[in-house]
Subunit: 440 residues, 2 copies
């Protein structure tokens, strides 16, 4: 049999140990933050029935879902996100106490053209945190506070959580053209403001056949600026004709009050009228986190309230809000901002093998280190010390323990610091404490 050419499916990735160590750290921070705020872990299968997965996304979405070549009477496919599985879970297990607060960190798949430089993959992790069963704006504020806590814990300094409300956008549509069927077009134009500027939006509105009078009103709304309070007040005046718009503004006021009460730094969140977010299913507050400085890599997190999605599966609407945090984006940003620790391995010590006379003692030292919580590798062959040091160096193991006949005779042991190159001989009894201090 010939050799099988080793390669990975385009748009998917291997995570080698060095990268895994960083990813694990990010996941640990998320997990512990989610749990600190009372969210519980959930996992669902990668495989879901086709009708469940496609209930929400529409034809455009269906194209992006990987189907299995499975002949079992029902079509089966790979999950596309973690929100639909959550909605299915809520409908399937009515006994779960509400509000149900869960986090879920699992891969999802998109049958997309991969664009590796833009960070678009066919398989990637989503880290979702959601509260189901509460319509309180406290639940939305908590999602924002959790997002903030995670990014702060990871060491991000320059980020901002943009906040808007779908009801406010609906109010703008109502006020500017009175025709909710034009809502998607108008929102898309508004969403583009940051990219294409006021003139661009004007042009886009024309292109979408939004009547001139309506377009004028949209542009006037977009000119409203100032701090959160000013913008809210000005909008309240403009949107006074729209019950929906006023309801959205009132929700936002509540959210902002909760964030302020929590002591969230004011420069970390902002009311952003231009934020629309792509998905159709949002019904209330929406939020998206971006870096305000380099690198420009799109949003690190995004989400919002979706009070009608779960009803697709349960028949009963259940209020819900949450966000997706993008592990890959966060990793890329941390890499580019030099925020990742310079660590290549979780292993702290290599115990070398000298010769047959000291073999048993080397093994017993290694076991003692492990029993004392020190991550310890042993070399498997009696190769030259040089070769064993090279192995430690390549792997990035910081300390090497040497136990030759000389050391054994004197009940001593040598420890080499691989970074400084310094080698120190200490009493055998002092080893554990010595290494615990170095690696602690």
């Amino acid at each position: 049999m010939g050799v099988i050419e080793p390669r990975v499916f385009k748009g998917t990735r291997d995570f080698l140990p060095e990268e895994m160590i960083h990813r694990d750290r990010i996941i640990d921070v998320m997990k512990s933050t989610f749990e600190t705020y009372g969210f519980e872990p959930l996992e669902t299968p990668a495989l879901e029935y086709w009708d469940i997965l496609t209930g929400k996304y529409g034809e455009e979405g269906e194209k992006l879902i990987y189907r299995l070549d499975y002949k079992g009477g029902h079509e089966v496919a790979l999950r596309y996100d973690l929100t639909v599985p959550l909605s299915r879970v809520i409908a399937l297990y009515p006994h779960l106490p509400k509000p149900f607060k869960r986090y879920q960190m699992q891969p999802v798949w998109r049958a997309d053209k991969p664009q590796l430089r833009q960070g678009r993959f066919r398989e990637f992790y989503q880290c979702d945190v959601d509260t189901v069963g509460s319509g309180s704006m406290l639940a939305d504020a908590e999602i924002i506070i959790v997002t903030h806590a995670i990014l702060s814990s990871l060491g991000f300094q320059t980020f901002r959580i943009r906040i808007n409300n779908r009801k406010v956008l609906a109010g703008i549509v109502e006020y500017t053209c009175g025709d909710q069927s034009r809502s998607a077009d108008i929102c898309r134009c508004i969403d583009k403001l940051d990219k294409i500027g006021m003139d661009g939006v004007k042009h886009e509105l024309e292109r979408c056949d939004i009547p001139d009078g309506s377009a004028q009103k949209v542009l006037k709304i977009l000119e409203i600026s100032g701090n959160n309070e000013t913008v809210l007040r000005d909008l309240e005046r403009e949107l006074s004709v729209s019950q929906m718009g006023l309801a959205g503004l009132s929700e936002l006021k509540e959210v902002f009050a909760f964030l302020q009460n929590n002591g969230l730094p004011q420069d970390r969140y902002t009311f952003d009228l231009h934020l629309a977010r792509g998905l159709d299913y949002y019904t209330g507050p929406i939020f998206e986190t971006v870096l305000t400085d380099q690198p420009h890599i799109g949003s690190l997190a995004g989400g919002g309230r979706y009070d009608e999605l779960i009803g697709l599966f349960s028949g009963i609407d259940e209020p819900a809000t949450g966000t997706t945090i993008g592990l890959d984006r966060i990793y890329t940003a941390m890499q580019q901002l030099n925020m990742l620790e310079n660590v290549k391995t979780k292993t702290q010590v290599l115990v070398t093998l000298f010769d047959d006379t000291t073999f048993k003692q080397s093994m017993s030292v290694a076991q003692e280190l492990r029993d004392n919580g020190i991550n310890t590798d042993t070399y498997f062959e009696q190769h030259s010390m040089k070769k064993q040091f090279t192995y430690a160096h390549k792997k990035g193991i910081p300390y090497v323990v040497i136990l030759g006949p000389d050391e054994c005779a004197k009940d001593e042991i040598s420890v080499k610091d691989m970074e400084s190159g310094e080698q120190k001989t200490i009493s055998r009894n002092a080893l554990i404490i010595y290494l615990q201090e170095l690696t602690g």
Copy 2:
């Protein structure tokens, strides 16, 4: 649009919070043990090219692999195990320092008839630990020691690691019938001894057309019993005609010496001539861990040395050894042996909402608890205390904090122990330390 019936694809499972908490704990123990022994994390994509996945399993295996309905020029499928992806990784990244010691804990998929009672699923986690690039029996012994350490840490008392060697089995075939093409048949018969007894094996050997003289010799070999040393010595005498058999016995002696040297309790491992293991690719020591007492749920872990598999991808044989630890089997065993902690939630405290006058203070207490490392949920509505207690009870949250106007006026706070029902009022300043002690 009608309601979409919520259901899970047969043979796959949702892991609700209560189960996730236990699974997470098992995974944490495995992860930290793997790292203690110098193994590094690795993850690979769920999707692999078909020719890579099917290089190893033969036609029987191919039937069990889920293909994607993907039209991109190459066939793509869901990984079947974690050993083939590891082999591909080794071939693809020749710069990885050897020995390469990795662990990997990810789901795999089998297009099988699910048998939920027997614990056979279509999607399940494998936890693999392997050493690539060393032919030393120290590497095999280490895999056995790691398996032992994990099961001990989890609290298992009655388990045994059965150890055999493929070279010994080949030696038995050489000695008993001289025809290696009958190897699979003879090994299958030997493997069944525990289930069908000596008479059963005799019958099976007949059924497989093993010549009478050869069958006699097989049965004589199977009668060898005693402690590890006795069995090894008796076998050495019988298999003296087979170089292969003697090489296998010599490997086993080395492994047993390393295990003894490490202080592994003698009753936890045993030389078991009947162990054959299904997969074709093993070339040296093989091992399998079973519970010696109830429940009878098959093996918790199994693996061995496979020195020729990686060569399928790299063209160069690379010695390798490792084991798969079955998360689902371990979970099921712990459940049946009442080894799982009685915990329903990671949340330690619920802060209730009394009324508007105390709202801000309740929120600030919650934040303070979180900042001090206590997992804290807050209630989102000003419902009756009874309703808020019911929520805490249903979720299994052990402590509830109450902050009404009375408490606020006196700068006090009440804490209810949900298990005992006892409620205690303490000074507001003492809260953190009080709860840290209770939950610590």
